[in-house]
Symmetry: C2
Subunit: 228 residues, 2 copies
Amino acid sequence: MADNELIKEDEKHPIYSLQTKVFEKLREDILNGVYKKGDELREKTIGEQLGVSRTPVREAIRQLELEGLVNIIPNKGASVVGLSTKDLKDIYEMRARLEGMCARWAVKYASEKDIEKLEEIVDLSEFHCMKERYEKVLELDNEFHELLYNMADSKMLYHVMADFHHYLQVIRKKTLSSHERVINSSKEHRDIINAIKNRDEELAENCAILHIKNTIQNIEEHCLWPEE
Amino acid sequence: MADNELIKEDEKHPIYSLQTKVFEKLREDILNGVYKKGDELREKTIGEQLGVSRTPVREAIRQLELEGLVNIIPNKGASVVGLSTKDLKDIYEMRARLEGMCARWAVKYASEKDIEKLEEIVDLSEFHCMKERYEKVLELDNEFHELLYNMADSKMLYHVMADFHHYLQVIRKKTLSSHERVINSSKEHRDIINAIKNRDEELAENCAILHIKNTIQNIEEHCLWPEE
DNA sequence: TATTGTATAATTGTATACAATTATACAAGC
DNA sequence: GCTTGTATAATTGTATACAATTATACAATA
């Protein structure tokens, strides 16, 4: 049996069930292209690879099916669907609009502390950008948007945005490795913050939409869409 | 053991696994308020009620957790989260924007046949409205939006909209039982169709947004939000 | 009474067993 | 050579067994 990553992590995070960990591992692997479109996911094989029985693997695959990342044919098996370039583009377009909604709603609910926190994140991000520590920049970008999603104070909106965020993770890693893009992104983040500060819903929405649209444009310009 | 609904349906739909059927049954029951917020979902109990073992129930509950309808605490159990009135409102707001996107994209991809089909649906709907057959009207409304979602030709957008659609099913049943609302809804549907016919993306988007906004307003006016 | 400890029961988490379905290999017949 | 039928293997679907965790009941103690 292969040396087993999941059980090792068990010691560190005994909070999560094996099922959850298998799910996250498989999702990660699908989104990162470890499994490619059409690959078949055999319960037994995956279970052996991860050192668990079929049960948690099955449960994980069922969840992946609900997310649309996997296709299950009853009594036959599961195969990887994954995300095409068009899927990613569509997600960005949806995200643009919903990010706008987020910013608009954040205006309504933002506390002074939230806004300070947003500014801190951007400050730190610019610092790490200067030092060219882009993993940190990505992390902080995640924090920025995560906080924004929380500020909107909507369980459902958060839920959708969190899903999108996972889907886009791989490509965001690329966009936020460009010094120039990070600089621009920071400016756009500050525009959003200022709009929220001034309690200007319309402006906040437009800034947030523009931010995502610019991200898309950047991806286009630098040909960062995944080759299929 | 209770008389068992799931196995009976087995004869009719042997395509779906028990797991799928348990999932759909539980989701339906949660959305319809059969299970209320906070109710605990015991695998053994539900399995006995439905005449299946714990395994498919477990898998179904895991899926419901991913949808956010259920909260699982490891080693403790699953409890119903369900949708609050605010959740429903937020979903409508998101849907308004994404429905707009749908209409916009549908303009790009709509075939003559699609448009004809849309018109047929509205014609039929108005006919059944006249006859006060509102279950039929609901069915056709579903068809209209389903087709629109398909016309947008986006797997991801369809996926999100399909989820929303399930979530809103209960309340849509109420709004489309009002003669007046159905009449207005039909007009709005025709506006959307005409915009698509004229290949006017901007107008199509705005009409679709307005359609959902009007739906929301109708719900407000008639106090159709669920009492909590 | 309130609290704590402990034994018991209930419940979940995981693994495994068995049934049902599907895939594969290969020989028989054309 | 190609199809078809059949036996075998592989895989999934479901149920169940067992382990681990959590809840419950209740007695002992302050």
